[in-house]
Amino acid sequence: MSAHVIESKPLVVEHKEEQENYLTAGYTLKSWFLTLDHKRIAILYLLSVTTMFFVGGIFASLMRLELMTPQSDLFEPDNFNKLFTMHGIVMVFFFIIPAVPGVLGNFLLPLMIGAKDVAFPRLNLLSWYVYIVGAAFTMFTIVSGGVDTGWTFYTPYSTSSSQTHVVPVVLGLFITGFSSILTGLNFMVTIHRMRAPGLSWFRLPLMVWSIYATSIIQILGTPVIAVTLMMAALEKVLRIGIFDPNLGGDPVLFQHLFWFYSHPAVYIMIVPGMGVINEVVTCFSRRSIFGYRAIAFANVGFVVFSFVVWGHHMIVAGQSVYSALIFSILSYLVGIFSAIKVFNWTATMYKGSISFDTPMLYVFGFQGLFLIGGLTGLFLAALGFDVHVHDTYFVVAHFHYVMVGGLVMAFLAGIHFWWPKMFGKKYPESIAKFAMILVFAGFNLTFFPQFILGYLGMPRRYASYPDEFQVLNVMSTAGGSVLGLGFLLIAAYMVWSLVFGKKAGMNPWKATGLEWEHTTSPPPTENFYETPIVNEDPYNYANRDFTKDFNKEVKLGA
């Protein structure tokens, strides 16, 4: 644990910054669509997941519009059902799961570990194409009439009752699954085999640990959903009977298989987001992380425990009460790992030197909202309580708090934090802060009332509802509009900054880490001018002199 920094022979790169970087390496479409550079692939992902987010968001807005009134007046129930299904599918499989790994993971992983690229660049590009093909299938489904099964595809509804396009969408997800698997595989091998000299496991930035944990979950979980969807499609087309009670099958088996993947999937969503939080909270507190090892091991804990709690989605679904018992207690154990992280981030701020730049505001947002989302997850894991709120808006509120309040906040924190590194430009700080507040306020207005709605008993996936729920629903819709405007604003100024933004310099936040201190913004195609050698623990803020200008020199290894 060498605490001192060797600051010998810094390489002054001011002039180099004017020169080539990964963005200027080529301007043709071909140079983008056939690129093997992980940073360019990250940009491709950024474009595609953002598009998907807005597509999903438009579905959400239409849904909220419909829910303003108790009757189903704007859409036929049929269409409403398609809306929430497509909203769930697009948001889960095409936005939130690939978002952080695809964009930030791709961009940062090799930079953070001092590698020139991921282990298998070709595979990396292939992942993106597979994702796009999967997305195309799903989008085709939308155009051709949609699906109405809910994102959970419960049998026997999806296989014997629904008249909509279940098979193409299932196929699309099957394909997309492979994108996720390949990304995970690639990242995992990269972390094992491509670390720079001196970068031992416990010197890795925690973001890397998070990505590592996420990759393992992707690798072990995704194949199961793939084969499950395959069986469901076969059931639908050939009536093979595996999930159809009329043919001797058990519909609950589908739920087991589905949640065996889909619960771990929620950690695929949140864990990389938590990784982002580590980096941002240390940087803006100028403080090394509190309890590095505890957080690192909590990630490992997620890998194991996320796979043994899936039954908490099936508490009233007809599974054994004894199973429910086991799954409930395991859910509480998995909660502890999140608790460790939340407490450690808070403790990291203690005695720090805290500044309030936009990324840090998102961290605050994340902390509060994920906390509420996570704690209400504990509500749901209490068996007798879940009986009442299962499949009500309480659950809807819970998962939006963790997914939007948690992951989307973390994603935005990350995007704002690394934007200067990715594009070499600054976004307009005060507008960004305003947008953050808009999103935060809009979010709470949208989803907090849903907790109450849920406890009052409003079931989810309802196109119409009894009159007494209207007041809260109107609040929720109003919040949704504010939220939507907030997101729109963010997209607008981000695009604006690409053209008009101020030049960022190589390390505008005075952050530690190879990606900030050892290369330019934007980095060159091969990432570093010289392979870095790591000789300190991460987040070594106590050893930096912040009065210096961090934007000038690329630090080199000894």
Binding site: P251, R287, A317, A339, S355, G384, F385, D386, G457, Y541
Partner: protein, 362 residues
């Protein structure tokens, strides 16, 4: 009906309601504690340690094992309370009292079909007396539905091909929402209805008005028309087992195992009689798969239930039902036995949750 102001709790109309609400309170309190605590610290640190100058150089973080252990152990302890509390309620919800009154529910896109033991049927409405445990035996004709009564805080998925159970004891007369909570297709949100809780007297009157033949009677008719009697009566050529006292009996199977004859087993006996052969009999019973509706199956089951004498909470033992093939007198079907003893009132019953223990006749 409900007032237009925003409420925070649905009505408390069953013996579970208060229990679940108390748990809710505990969960909320723990959450509030942590949320306020952590947000409080964040705000406090943000003010106290805000950056005053770029020259600020915070010290190295020191880790503090004791602190870390504390914040693992305390939440663990608190969440164990959540677990045990939640599980306790859940187990009560999963164990209907023996003396419960039975109602049969069939879900179907997109309606609830309900049959009372006396054969009365309702659609999307369920009338029950206050203060009496009611046990629902539910199945579905097509896809999965979920029977949800917010005011009672109960819910269970209704699954084709198997029976789910749900029980409650209403504590307050009134009309409450019945929702389908598992997404089941186009009119999922239209698959709603109401639960009407009545005073016992009103309930009896309501029930008395109904002219339908009782469920068990209908079942009994089926027992004849479907030809069950030809085997399951003393004088038939092909012998089937004696069905007297079948419900709840420990049936010994050919492979030596023992199984309790309840709904699931009886249903299987009709649809797939040879899957579990009764000891001493051959695989002679035909399958009625596809020949009966779910409702008819329920009727038959309900009839077979009457063949078992039941102890009710009045302490009376119902008369043993008549020999097979004869009409059992409907008034002796156990669930209909009037209950003269005091009905536990809502207030008495709130905390204990489970209905008053019956004093068995023995």
């Amino acid at each position: 009906m409900q007032s237009s102001t925003v409420q925070f709790l649905p009505e408390q109309a069953s013996s579970f309601a208060l229990q679940v609400d108390l748990l809710y309170l505990y969960l909320t309190a723990v959450s509030a504690f942590f949320t306020i605590g952590i947000v409080g610290f964040i705000i406090f640190f943000s003010i106290k340690y805000r950056r005053r100058s770029d020259a600020d150089r915070p010290p190295m973080t020191v880790s503090n094992l004791l602190l870390e252990i504390t914040w693992i152990v305390v939440p663990l302890a608190l969440s164990f309370v959540m677990f045990i509390w939640g599980a306790a309620i859940f187990f009560k919800m999963a164990s209907p009292p023996k003396e419960s009154m039975d109602v049969y529910v069939t879900g179907k896109q997109w309606m609830w079909k309900i049959q009372h033991v006396n054969g009365h049927r309702e659609i999307n409405e369920l009338h029950v007396p206050v203060g009496k445990p009611v046990r629902l035996t539910m199945t579905s004709e097509d896809v999965i539905h979920s029977f949800f009564i917010p005011a009672f805080r109960i819910k269970a998925d209704v699954i084709p091909g198997s029976y789910s159970k749900l029980w409650f004891e209403a504590t307050k007369p009134g009309k409450y929402h019945l929702f389908c909570a598992e997404y089941c297709g186009t009119k999922h949100s239209g698959m709603i209805g109401s639960i009407i809780v009545m005073e016992q007297r009103d309930y009896d009157a309501w029930l008395g008005n109904t002219k339908d033949s009782s469920l068990a009677e209908a079942g009994q008719k089926l027992f004849k028309t479907m030809g069950c009697v030809s085997c399951h009566s003393a004088d038939s050529d092909i012998k089937g087992p004696n069905l007297e006292g079948i419900y709840g009996k420990q049936v010994r199977l050919q492979d030596g195992s023992v199984i309790t004859a309840e709904e699931r087993y009886l249903r299987e006996s009709l649809l797939a009689p040879n899957a579990k052969l009764t000891e001493g009999f051959t695989a002679n019973m035909p399958s009625y798969q596809g020949l009966m509706t779910e409702e008819q199956i329920l009727q038959l089951i309900s009839y077979m239930r009457t063949l078992t004498p039941v102890t009710t909470n009045t302490g009376l033992k119902t008369l043993p039902t008549t020999a097979l093939g004869q009409t059992p007198k409907p008034e002796v079907t156990p669930v209909q036995t009037p209950k003269p003893v005091t009905t536990p009132t809502a207030t008495e019953n709130k905390l204990s949750g489970s209905p008053k223990k019956s004093e068995p006749a023995k």
